[in-house]
Amino acid sequence: MNSIRINKKKYTVNVDSEMPLLWFLRDHVGLTGTKYGCGVAQCGACVVHLDGEAVRSCVTKMKRAIGKEVITIEGLSEHGDHPLQLAWKDVDVPQCGYCHAGQIMSAAVLLRERLDPTDQDIDDAMTGNICRCGTYSRIRKAIHHAAELQKQKG
């Protein structure tokens, strides 16, 4: 009953139900791709998909996540070849890299909802993901590029 599916694998949850999902992912499951930035839903470094929504795992408690499907950056694609991951490499987006698991997980929801996102769509969707290194223009470029790759892939 106290189970959760993370990246298509089932886990039994035997931690305090008040524990943030981020803690569970990083400390209990060992998925450290998702990052801790602020802990108060202000930066977007910790974004994962919870039943397909781009939630902030630092403020999402286990009691909300139990029974649900979680996808982290590690599970976004089987071989690291999601159009966004390919585009991120092509455009060479990251500077320090710390924010990008969250950036990509947010962008993945955007690309699912908007096959050909406009700059306005990108502004609207990515506004909650902060990059201290200021890679915003490359993020925009890579999202447009990923949209193209997604189209080619069909």
Partner: protein, 223 residues
């Protein structure tokens, strides 16, 4: 001659003032229910209505003070971005309302706001069903005068089709009540929820009278 000259304008002023006071009475005590079929839709409840313009306008003073507090205004903005803080500034990150009032794309309200307040200062507040009014029923409080808001609150086309019964029940809505348990660092509305509920029901059941455009100063109604 001089005295006579002075007297005439004074007489004119008196006449104008008298007319204005009469006009204020008429404007001030117009029931906010523009169409009384709103009441009639619920005969049972309508039977409890005892029109009393003075009591109604007095009760609305309290209601208005609550609805203009940041705890209420912040989620009833005039634009499509919610407000935050006791100074009702635009919400950080500029999340958008969306068609259903629940945000858009990656910026859905509940991606950060949980079913309860997150502990600590400057953390996301929360409550089940956290959302803004929808794009088709914005129910704006921000910037509304007491007169405008009173009219709006009982207008089925602007209040989410709430009749008198639904309006009364709305005092106990989960998001409304959240206003009194808003989490650390957020000031409470000016009166308690019980006082608000009493004023709200009094206002509605005494005829839901809208105060004058001039504001809430009851004295200009009594003179």
């Amino acid at each position: 001659m001089e005295l006579y000259k002075e007297k005439r304008p004074l007489g004119k002023i008196r006449f104008t003032v008298t007319l204005s006071v009469i006009a204020l009475f008429i404007i001030g005590f117009v029931s906010a229910f523009s169409d009384e079929t709103n009441y009639a839709a619920n005969e049972e409840i309508y039977a409890t209505v005892k029109k009393d313009s003075i009591k109604s306008v007095e009760a609305f003073k309290k209601v208005y003070a609550v609805l203009q507090s940041p705890r209420c205004v912040n989620c009833h903005p005039s634009g499509d971005i919610p407000l935050q803080g006791d100074d009702s500034r635009l919400h950080a990150m500029f999340p958008k309302r969306g068609v259903d009032g629940k945000g858009i794309l990656t910026m859905k309200c509940t991606n950060c706001h949980q079913t309860e307040n997150t502990a600590g200062l400057k953390t996301p507040p929360g409550s089940p069903e956290w959302h803004l009014p929808s794009a088709t029923m914005k129910m704006v409080f921000q910037g509304r005068s007491a007169h405008e808001l009173a009219k709006q609150l009982v207008d089925l086309k602007q209040n989410g089709n709430k009749d008198l019964k639904a309006l009364i029940a709305h005092a106990d809505d989960g998001l409304v009540k959240w206003g009194w348990t808003p989490g650390e660092g957020r000031t409470l509305p000016p009166i308690s929820h019980a006082e608000f509920k009493e004023a709200w029901i009094t206002w509605l059941t005494t005829g839901a009278y809208a105060p004058t455009q001039q504001g809430l100063d009851g004295s200009n109604l009594k003179n």
